[in-house]
């Protein structure tokens, strides 16, 4: 990678929620700031800026990652998915989102986008995920409102539904 001038913006090309994007960012700009303040996708939330709380979790090439610990310039050529990709139409929630609503898996909703992105990746890669897998995955996220129990129940319900839909006769 060529050495870049720290004082000015440089282009970053990547795929964001299925669409090609060209943005401009200084070397030190965080991915979370690029998404929120340059591109205007504010669904990704920033809670701690040091990678502990998990609110800013997005998917980079399918893997959950902290947008607050990723520089915008690091995602050149990558495929980024944010919470906005989960259901383009709020009237039609995804399985996972609908399960969260049904099970009261959120209160203030600030940590929720990050949790959804982690669980979305988990359920895609491990459709057979059970309670302990889900808890293990959720342990990278902090939620101050719910006490977590309803989040686990929502994720379990979504996993169960997904299995039924994919193997309707199983």
């Amino acid at each position: 990678m060529p050495r870049m001038n720290a004082a000015r913006k440089h282009p970053v090309d990547f795929t964001l929620n299925g669409k090609a994007v060209r943005a401009e960012a200084e070397n030190r700009m965080l991915l979370s700031d690029l998404l929120r303040h340059e591109i205007g996708l504010t669904g990704t939330h920033v809670g701690c800026e040091h990678g502990v709380c998990g609110a800013c979790t997005v998917q980079i090439d399918g893997k959950p990652a902290r947008a607050c610990l990723t520089l915008a310039q690091q995602v050149r050529g990558s495929d980024i998915r944010t919470v906005e990709a989960l259901s383009p139409d709020p009237a039609k929630l995804s399985r996972l989102q609908a399960a969260f609503r049904r099970h009261h898996g959120l209160q203030c909703g600030f940590c929720t986008p990050g949790i959804l992105m982690s669980l979305d990746a988990l359920l895609r890669e491990h459709p057979d995920a059970g309670r302990e897998d889900i808890r293990e995955h959720l342990s990278g996220h902090l939620c101050r409102c719910t006490g977590y129990a309803t989040i686990v129940e929502a994720a379990l319900a979504a996993a169960e539904e997904q299995r039924k839909e994919e193997k309707p006769n199983a």
């Binding site: 809670g47 040091h50 709380c53 203030c108 996220h141 101050r144």
Partner: protein
């Protein structure tokens, strides 16, 4: 589960939340998501790295010169445009949102930068030079009272800012004649419910109208609006305060954003542009509000059978460096229910409020409850121990009798309703207490450490806005005029097409108010929930509000939802009158269901809701004589029971009093000291339940935070006032792995004082759970002095006593220079060089050599032969910063030994230390031995605690390695990474 049934109604049903579709799809509108004016600039705040210091000078020249910086403000600039914030007690002390000539806590604002963007603003912070003279800091509330303690506010002359003594009944006689006097001493720690969204403010100043317009994720109480307006020196109608549609949690904490409302407003005024500020996590942990820490001694007069006849409270409340509104409210919020769930007729209370070099406190879920119930329920447990009784029997013997409600407590509270005995019995039976006791016995038989704890708690809700005046003497109150009540407000409006809008000033922080209000109003008007839309944004320039508005004291369900029901009922009565004319029946026969108004006796005789509602808009002339409009109805509701304090200091501090009975079983790992919650049962009586899913959500959420407070969380300070828990890796919040699922039970006794019979439920477990867990740990270990948090290291101390000194001989410690509790680093090492001792000695005294060998040095200036000044850039872990170092040489024995002592100061913190360097001639040259001791404070101490030892060792090692290289020895210059690794290896070997 006992629950009042609402036949076919919406209230009491766990409906899906109307908030969720937006929040789940990334469409929430939190403060940092809101659109701002294109010319909005960003605010960054320079904060004190010291717990206590005089500010000698602030040099902002370099910061002002940085391109992109719009304005720089110091404390004096803010003072010129504002007034001191109101202090809630009579005391000769000022309270500013930014330091003037002295800093009193780590994190206190010192200067403000307004710049084009946040990155540039934070760059500019590093360019401000502040010259501090550090003062002795005081962090322990008891030591702060000592005659020779450093005084924070010279104008006050003492750290004791308020003291009041109260007496109810005849506590002295009860104590004198009691069969037993049993007391307990408690030190409750500081903690915070730390919402995941931090503070945020967007402020604008209109110079043409001398008016401020501020949007902040403030949660109330809106009595604070008066404090803000006064501080900004404008009438309330020129201080427009708005809240965003969504909030990322608060738990009381976002009350504490208000000093930043003032700072951002002034910054916007000076900058001539709107200013936006979003707090970062380090700022939040360091400088947002937390619960108070409190030292309590509680004594009880106890009869032979365990009946408590008197309580004597001595409470020492630590509110931090300033008494900020609404403090000392934490100390007085529970004043009406200081006897908890018990019928105790004689009470004495000594309340003292002390200031220390810690962050000012404020609202935090449970607000005053955790502190008093920790003392009270530990004492009840101790009474059982001392008298050889079952703790449950002591609890039962003292509970307020079921036939005594409404029950007036000794201190003036009015417990509205309850049946504590039945709730407790049901909890024991349905929660499986007997099985749990067998489980404990079995575990103990195997030699395991297992204990059971109990807690009975009264959960107050809907605060009396007058309770805080109990801190004033009756004479002061008489002079100031009575304060009481708690205005709740709700507006129900119907538009020309018949759809309904509800507007409240409840400022929800994620609880789901919009859903519950839609349920309540839709049920009252016979509509589907979807026909009612609720708006909970608050704009003080346009909406109905009052000082009690906001989201605190668990007031939503009992007060706000009740006011909405009353507003809907008023409109309903008028709609019925109008419909009666149209249906040709009397109004009392009109019923509301499924969007229709109809004759109860002949449902076919019906008219649509929209048609009746439209009449007020389209044809007001057709309304029956004397029937008011149905366009908009605003109800202000304040309960009569919330009276001002009496002349005898009796105060009904809250309208509603829920009841909680918890019990739990914990097991302690004998090897690690870890506390594991094996089973937790929590029984709640929160009156009528409006939405069971949300009530259980409140219970689980409060419980999880209480588990954190009991086992993991503490805002920790060093003895010098340095803040030690500045990251979420240091301040440990429970994850899903640490949060057990409690069994939640309900027993409903509706409140007779609220429109819907509901009581608050949001805070109870923050009051009951920490002490319940502590009682279980006490039961498991047989330890009386239980302190929170119950971390493995603390529990291990009780299990094994204090850590023994190592058996292997250690290097003699260098002379100690740090204050007790300061974060100290020590180390030593040596390096071999080929140069002669004299030439090494000369190098150590030469600024050019020093510049070459001090890691990260930009400049080294020789002030005198024994005094050097240096500018260095150092990185510790992820935190890289520029520091100014001041180094003095002493105890010089040329060319053998010298002591270097000095300090560094920078945006990221400060350090000082001493090092003794000795030079010994060897066969091949010189051996350099060094030993150092350093103390570190400020930001690096807050965020890098666990990295510091290693990092300091590496940096100091780099210095001597570079010296060795310069003197012709050691490793040749090479790539930094390789060098670093070799250095680390080198110093590991030499330790």
């Amino acid at each position: 589960m006992t629950r009042l049934e609402t036949a076919g109604g919406l209230i009491g049903r766990t409906v899906e939340r109307v908030e969720d579709a937006g929040l789940l799809t990334g469409r929430g509108r939190y403060i940092d998501d809101l659109p701002v004016r294109r010319d909005t600039a960003h605010l960054a705040i320079l904060r004190s790295p010291h717990g206590h210091a005089e500010i000698r000078a602030i040099d902002t020249t370099a910061a002002r010169a940085l391109p992109g910086v719009v304005a720089v403000l110091t404390g004096e600039d803010v003072v010129r445009l504002t007034r001191s914030m109101t202090v809630g007690v009579k005391a000769n002390v000022e309270c500013w949102p930014i330091a003037r000539d002295r800093v009193r806590y780590v994190g206190e604002p010192v200067a403000l930068i307004v710049a084009e963007n946040r990155y540039v603003a934070e760059d500019a912070l590093d360019l401000i030079e502040v010259d501090y003279e550090t003062l002795a800091a005081i962090v322990d509330p008891e030591k702060a009272l000592a005659a020779d303690a450093p005084v924070l506010h010279p104008s006050l002359g003492t750290n004791l800012i308020n003291e009041r003594n109260f007496r109810y009944g005849d506590p002295e006689a009860a104590l004198a004649t009691a069969a037993h006097r049993i007391s307990i001493r408690i030190a409750y720690p500081r903690n915070s419910c730390t919402p995941i969204e931090t503070y945020g403010v967007i402020a604008e100043y209109d110079a043409a109208e001398d008016a401020y317009d501020v949007t902040a994720n403030f949660q109330g109480p809106f009595s604070i609006h008066a404090v803000i307006s006064r501080a900004l020196n404008v009438p309330g109608n020129r201080m427009r305060l708005r809240t965003p549609p969504d909030s990322g949690g608060s738990f009381g904490i976002k009350q504490g954003v208000f000093p930043y409302v003032i700072l951002a407003a002034v910054a916007a005024r000076v900058a001539g542009r709107p200013v936006k500020w979003i707090e970062d996590r380090l700022e939040h942990l360091t400088a947002s509000v937390s619960a108070t820490n409190r030292v309590t001694t509680l004594e009880a007069a106890v009869a032979a059978d365990g009946r408590i006849t008197a309580l004597s409270w001595d409470q020492l409340e630590d509110c931090g460096a300033h008494l900020r509104a609404p403090e000392p409210a934490t100390l007085y919020r529970m004043h009406g229910n200081m006897t908890g769930a018990y019928a105790i007729e004689n009470v004495s209370i000594r309340n003292r409020v002390v200031l220390t070099n810690k962050t000012p406190t404020g609202l935090n879920r449970g607000f005053g409850g955790p502190q008093i119930y920790f003392a009270l329920e530990r004492l009840v447990n101790k009474i059982a121990d001392k008298l050889g009784l079952d703790p449950l029997d002591v609890i039962r013997r003292n509970l307020v009798p079921a036939d005594a409600f409404p029950y007036r407590t000794a201190t003036g509270g009015l417990l509205d309703s309850g049946d504590y005995q039945t709730a407790l019995d049901r909890a024991c039976a349905e929660g499986g207490l007997e099985a749990l006791q067998q489980r404990r016995d079995a575990a103990r038989a195997e030699g395991r450490l297992y204990g059971i704890g109990y807690a009975a708690v009264v959960e107050p809700s809907v605060s009396n806005m007058g309770y805080i005046t109990t801190v004033l003497t009756p004479e002061e109150r008489a002079k100031a005029g009575p304060k009481n009540g708690a205005q709740a407000v709700a507006t129900v409006a119907i538009d020309p097409l018949g759809s309904v809008t509800v507007k409240v000033a409840s400022v929800p922080q994620g609880q789901g108010h919009r859903t519950v209000l839609a349920q309540v109003v839709a049920e009252r008007l016979g509509l589907a929930m979807e026909a009612v839309r609720v708006n909970t944004e608050l704009d003080t320039a346009r909406d109905a509000w009052s000082i009690a508005s906001g989201n605190y004291a668990s007031r939503f369900a009992p007060a706000v939802a009740g006011a909405a029901a009353l507003a809907a009922d008023r409109i309903r009565a008028r709609l019925a009158a109008i419909a009666a004319g149209q249906l040709n029946i009397t109004a009392d026969r009109v019923d509301f269901r499924a969007g229709k108004l109809f004759d109860r006796d002949n449902p076919d005789n019906a008219v649509s809701f929209g048609r009746v509602a439209a009449a007020s808009h389209w044809a007001p002339g057709t309304l029956p004589e004397g029937t008011g409009q149905t366009i908009r109805e605003t109800v202000f509701w304040t309960p009569d029971e919330l009276q001002a304090p009496t002349a005898a200091d009796g105060i009904n501090s809250s309208l509603c009093h829920g009841f909680i009975f918890d019990f739990c079983g914990v097991e302690i790992d004998r090897t690690t000291g870890q506390v594991r919650i094996d089973r937790y049962v929590t029984m709640h009586d929160c009156g009528r339940i409006l939405h069971p899913g949300m009530v259980d959500g409140q219970v689980r959420g409060g419980f999880a935070q209480a588990v954190g407070a009991a086992l993991y969380e503490e805002y920790a300070y060093g003895g010098d006032g340095s803040f030690l828990t500045g990251t979420l890796a240091d301040y440990l919040i429970p994850t899903v792995m640490e949060t057990p699922e409690p069994l939640i039970l309900h027993h409903e006794t509706p409140s007779p004082f609220t429109p819907l019979g509901a009581k608050g439920v949001g805070e109870g477990n923050c009051m009951s759970t920490p002490v319940c867990i502590a009682n279980a740990v006490a039961d498991a270990l047989g330890v009386e002095d239980i302190r929170l948090p119950l971390s493995p290291s603390r529990v291990s101390e009780w299990l094994y006593g204090e850590e023994r000194p190592p058996t292997k001989p250690q290097d003699a410690a260098p002379v100690a220079t740090g204050a007790s509790g300061e974060r100290m680093l020590t180390g030593s090492g040596s390096a071999e060089v080929t140069a002669t001792r004299d030439s090494v000695w000369a190098m150590l005294l030469d600024p050019n050599t020093l510049k070459a060998i001090i890691p990260g040095a930009h400049e080294v200036r020789k002030v005198s032969n024994t005094h050097f000044r240096a500018e260095v850039t150092l990185g510790i872990g992820p935190v890289k910063g520029r520091y100014r170092a001041d180094i003095r040489l002493s105890d010089m024995v040329a060319p053998e030994a010298v002591t270097l002592s000095g300090g560094t100061e920078g945006a990221l913190g400060s350090g000082r230390g001493t090092g003794r360097v000795t030079l010994t001639e060897t066969a091949t040259g010189t051996r350099i031995d060094y030993r150092y001791e350093a103390a570190i404070g400020g930001k690096v101490a807050s965020v890098g605690g666990r990295l510091l030892d290693g990092a300091a060792r590496v940096v100091i090692g780099q210095f001597f390695q570079a010296l060795a290289r310069h003197a012709g020895g050691g490793a040749p210059p090479s790539a930094p990474a390789g060098l670093l690794q070799r250095l680390v290896a080198l110093f590991r070997r030499r330790r």
